[in-house]
């Protein structure tokens, strides 16, 4: 959320999720837990591609992390990941897959398509907070990126 203007933006997270309620929940949680992180939402594959098309700092730069819902109505998660991995600018962009399922075949498919991690969506609010906090802490505070290309 961009309301916290006093806090310098540490990084951006791009949420790719076609369910407005799920995407908004992530935005709320990230806004509460990490006011220095700007959360953007792409509600389908086209919006994601558009957002990532121009990686220049003038366009806001690439996000530090993509949170990708595995079950989008208009595209499968594996297809989206392959698209990201096929382009030089997003080949190493960290992508954490979010899914409701712990089906081993699905987890394997996500990792083989190039996901950096696979996280099962928690069933309750307290656990959701913990999970989002852990993801943000690791990917925006611990993980190093090579910087703008």
């Amino acid at each position: 959320m961009s309301g916290a203007a006093a806090v310098p933006v540490r990084g951006r997270v791009l949420v790719v999720d076609d369910s407005p309620s799920s995407a908004k929940l992530l935005e709320f949680l990230i806004g509460d837990l990490a006011p220095d992180v700007l959360c953007e939402i792409a509600s389908d594959r086209a919006a994601m591609s558009e957002r990532l098309r121009d990686p220049s700092p003038a366009a806001g730069g690439l996000p530090r992390l993509v949170l990708l819902d595995w079950h989008l109505a208009d595209a499968d998660g594996a297809g989206i990941l392959r698209e990201l991995r096929a382009q030089a600018s997003t080949r190493t962009l960290p992508v954490v897959v979010l899914s409701g399922s712990r089906d081993p075949a699905e987890i394997r498919a996500a990792l083989e398509a190039g996901a950096n991690a696979y996280v099962v969506k928690p069933r309750d609010f307290a656990k959701s907070r913990e999970t989002v906090e852990a993801i943000v802490r690791f990917w925006l505070h611990c993980n190093e990126r090579p910087g703008p290309a």
């Binding site: 709320f28 309750d124 609010f125």
Partner: protein
């Protein structure tokens, strides 16, 4: 299909029943998929938002508003449990059976070892008669033994549970029985017992989403057997289940 059918049924009847079981398995798989993919997410989202509201935004609500919120929360959690229950029911009933000769007594022993954490188990008094080797899918029979024993413990009347396992038959089928000295079952409601989510009265602490007996019925159906409840002569309830047996397959 290695499943033995009831003796005395004409072949066409047996084929029909096998076909009906296969159809039911497909339906169950579909139900599991719907529960898993379509129902889970809305149930989960309602719960998450209600919890968010309760955790950080309930101070502006008046008493009726807070009551409405806590109702939404409770019902969303219940719905989430039921969706999970449907998924388990569908998954179990679409699983392929591996029928083999299983020593029911030894299997019950293993099941009881795994139940030590259940509240009321330590205090429970068991009488276990000789149990036969039956024709069944081992994992699914273990589920039946587990659910029936856990129910007898969870629905005990007061004090320690008393549980009697026994067996009868042996010609065309084996009938295993578990008898308790618990609350007993209202005869008018006996059939409802085996439907998912139908509880007779309040759910005791430690109870699952209410699919145990539905799961047992599904398992027995697919074995060509049956399960039913009766009053125990000494008060409480008896659950019996019958598994068809084929003397030709006896070792």
């Amino acid at each position: 299909m290695t499943l033995p059918d009831h003796p005395g049924l004409p072949d066409s009847g047996a084929e029909f029943r096998a076909g009906a079981r296969a159809g039911a398995a497909t339906q169950a798989a579909l139900m599991a998929e719907i529960a898993d993919h379509d129902l889970r997410e809305p149930a989960c989202t309602i719960r998450l938002y209600a919890e968010m509201l309760a955790a950080g935004h309930a101070s502006g609500l008046d008493e009726r508003g807070r009551f409405a919120l806590s109702t939404i929360l409770g019902e969303a959690r219940r719905m989430q449990d039921m969706v999970e229950g449907l998924r388990i029911l569908g998954e179990e009933s679409s699983r392929e059976l591996r029928i083999e000769r299983v020593d029911a007594g030894a299997l019950l022993g293993e099941v009881l070892q795994g139940m030590a954490g259940l509240e009321g188990f330590r205090e429970a008094r068991f009488e276990i008669g000789p149990l036969p080797a039956v024709l069944a899918d081992r994992a699914q029979l273990a589920l039946v033994l587990d659910h029936l024993t856990a129910n007898a413990i969870l629905y005990r009347s007061s004090g320690a549970a008393r549980i009697i396992w026994s067996a009868a038959g042996g010609r065309d089928e084996w009938v295993l029985a578990i008898e308790d000295r618990g609350r007993g079952i209202n005869p008018a409601l006996r059939d409802r017992l085996f439907r998912p989510f139908k509880r007779l009265g309040a759910s005791p602490p430690g109870a699952g989403p209410g699919i145990g007996l539905a799961l047992c019925r599904g398992i027995l159906d697919r074995h060509g057997g049956r399960i039913w409840a009766e009053d125990a002569p000494g008060g409480g309830a008896v659950f019996r289940f019958a598994l068809p047996d084929d003397p030709g397959k006896r070792p």
